[in-house]
């Protein structure tokens, strides 16, 4: 902190005070309001706070909160890490995170996709970590082809090192703008937003998965040095030996997040042998993947905000006959347009007990009816659990998949579980 000019010191202190006040009054976790006040006093505060820190910026449509958390854990070797663990991923949140840890020499910042070019310019990070791009909240988010183009242009002007998923063509094309890159084969289950070449628009040839190339302009997947093997639950790094992941977070999406985190840790000089045990310690991230025990039933909470996320969640459901509750809202943070429900294939839920909930459960009901999936409507998770218990006293588990505000409502009903 002592290296900061006086005005920036004052602004950062003021921001911290406002953040504590916001937390104390229960109006939020304070990440945004503190940064807002600080930015008013010192517009270049982000640049000043970032100076002298080795920063990693983490951006993607899905998994950025989890991956930020994984990387921060892997880098604990360096002592205090400046990180926006509450997911406040715009510059005001970055200012709060950096201001709260003035002594930290390392920072890991989750960055909203749209803000990445600006934050990249303002903070001159050591590494930029890019995982995936897919359709998300189309009524207010930027078009992803445009986002990829802006990422690419910003990387072309920067000295940063990119660590990116080579299996996502849009992400790879953006990352190819950087001078230095470490490519990770992290997989891509949802392919509906990347059938066309980001360079020329040609229809990509995508076989054998995860390889891809454009028959029209020759753009192709870069050579990778890190790779996930989902079937074997391993990751292979530059050393060439396969390491078992054995994470406590479920699913292929988290294997991808972990591989990216290991590659990032390696860029900081932390070996997978040191980093992996730390990744395994994490069992939930801000309520995601957490289990609540109620009426003798384990209720597992899965957050999914868009079609790619729903596909990943379907893949980690406990096997049938474990019932599943789907809950969808359409408030501003969710996106007001529920059209995306039709991008997901629900036939995998056939033969399972399914409940639909949330403010837009009628949209879900029609969607499931169209895919010939039997379902019941419900108002609350507790009511579903009580019903299951009354029918079968040995009922032990329920999975819940919910989009953003629906997830927060359920999480709040159980006391903001972590």
């Amino acid at each position: 902190m002592s290296e900061l000019p006086l005005r920036a010191q004052f602004a950062a202190a003021l921001g911290k005070g406002a953040a504590s006040l916001s937390r104390a009054t229960g109006r939020g976790d304070g990440s945004v309001i503190g940064g807002k006040i600080a930015l008013k006093v010192e517009p270049e505060l982000l640049t000043k706070l970032a100076r002298g820190k080795r920063l990693a910026l983490v951006s993607a449509t899905n998994g950025k909160t989890t991956t930020t958390r994984l990387i921060a854990s892997a880098l604990r070797e360096f002592g205090d890490i400046a990180t926006n663990e509450h997911g406040a991923n715009m510059p005001t949140g970055h200012i709060t995170a950096l201001g709260a840890n003035p002594e930290a020499t390392v920072g890991v910042l989750e960055v909203d996709e749209k803000y990445l070019p600006g934050v990249l310019r303002d903070t001159r990070p050591a590494v930029v970590v890019l995982m995936n791009l897919s359709r998300d909240q189309m009524d207010r988010a930027s078009e992803i082809n445009l986002l990829a183009k802006k990422w690419r242009e910003a990387l072309q002007l920067s000295e940063t090192h990119v660590i990116a998923n080579a299996d996502d063509p849009l992400v790879a094309w953006a990352g190819l703008g950087a001078r230095n890159a470490t490519w990770v084969s992290a997989g891509q289950r949802w392919k509906e937003d990347s059938w066309c070449c980001p360079e020329c628009g040609g229809h990509l040839k995508r076989e054998p998965d995860p390889y891809w190339e454009c028959p029209e302009c020759g753009l192709r997947r870069p050579e990778t040095v890190w790779a996930v093997d989902n079937a074997r639950d391993t990751v292979t790094g530059p050393g060439g030996a396969a390491m078992t992941l054995a994470l406590n977070l479920p699913g292929d999406a988290n294997r991808a997040n972990a591989a990216i985190a290991l590659a990032t840790a390696a860029a900081y000089g932390i070996t997978p042998e040191v980093a992996l045990p730390r990744l395994r310690e994490i069992t939930s991230v801000a309520g995601r993947y957490t289990s609540v025990h109620t009426q003798g039933v384990e209720v597992r909470l899965l957050l999914s905000k868009n079609p790619a996320g729903w596909l990943e969640s379907f893949a980690v459901l406990d096997p049938a006959p474990v019932p599943v509750i789907l809950s969808v809202n359409a408030q501003i943070p969710d996106g007001k347009d529920t059209s995306w429900l039709w991008d997901v294939d629900y036939t995998v839920l056939r033969g399972r007990r399914v409940f639909v909930m949330g403010e837009r459960r009628t949209d879900l009901a029609l969607r499931l009816e169209t895919d010939d999936v039997a379902f019941e409507t419900a108002d609350r998770v507790d009511a579903v659990v009580a019903k299951l218990k009354s029918e079968r006293p040995d009922a032990a588990k329920v999975d819940v998949i919910a989009n953003y505000t629906a997830f927060q409502q359920i999480r709040t009903a159980y006391g903001r579980v972590q």
Binding site: M138, D139, L341
Partner: protein, 236 residues
């Protein structure tokens, strides 16, 4: 139905370029409402590297981002299949970006007019503001569809030429120009409505089926009618 087959052929054009807003829903509902009436269907996916078959019954084009929209228009014009199918009298149901590119011209991101496929007499450009939100409109009474609901998300403004007819009068939302929404000419129909439009408006899906197979029996109420009523009540 097409003379070459006893099945209703539903051709989904360029799902790799124009399928950003749940457009698959329109395909699924058409198939379901046809098959519930005993009409067998065949779904054909045409990728942007494929040529468009001419013998389809109903062609669907969805929404897309600016760049994929331009690519789709260029490829459709070069291919020529959709234009020949429309000339044969096929039904075309097109949404948002797809609606704009089947017209005479549409605007790119600098509002420079680009040529469309030219199967409906409309011209689209860019408005000063983006139209985003729930939309409600009353369909031309001669089509027997009634009030429709959807979600619009576009910057386009569309002028309807002499050969085409506005699909509906807007009750809430922007649509073509704050007054009308969508357009049709023969069996070529376009709209800005997402939601997607056919699941949210079963009567509109049935209009397309009627155009192809004549009178069809009513179906028992589905969640589609419930959703239709719910969204109307929420929007007005």
């Amino acid at each position: 139905m097409s003379d070459t087959s006893s099945r209703l052929r539903i051709v989904w054009i360029y799902p790799d370029l124009l399928s950003t807003y749940g457009d698959q829903g329109n395909v699924l509902i058409l198939r379901r409402r046809a098959e519930q009436r005993g009409i067998p269907t065949e779904i054909v996916h045409v990728h942007s590297s494929d040529s468009v078959p001419v013998e389809g019954d109903i062609y669907l084009l969805g929404g897309g981002e600016d760049r994929p929209q331009i690519l789709a228009a260029e490829r459709l014009i070069a291919d020529g299949g959709l234009k020949r199918a429309a000339a044969r009298g096929a039904c075309v149901f097109s949404v948002c970006a797809g609606y704009q590119i089947i017209g005479e011209t549409y605007g790119d991101d600098d509002d420079k007019p680009l040529p469309g496929v030219g199967i409906i007499d409309i011209r689209s450009g860019r408005g000063a503001t983006r139209a985003v939100g729930e939309i409600v409109a009353d369909v031309d009474p001669s089509l027997g569809v009634g009030r429709i609901t959807g979600f619009e998300n576009h910057q386009g403004r569309t002028a309807i030429g002499a050969q085409a007819t506005p699909l509906s009068t807007t009750v809430k939302g922007i649509g073509n120009d704050d007054h009308t929404e969508g357009a049709y000419q023969g069996q070529v129909l376009g709209t800005y409505l997402h939601g997607p439009a056919l699941p949210r408006n079963p009567a509109l899906a049935d209009l397309l089926l009627r155009w192809r197979v004549g009178e069809i029996p009513p179906l028992p109420p589905s969640w589609g009618e419930t959703l239709h009523e719910e969204r109307l009540a929420a929007a007005l």
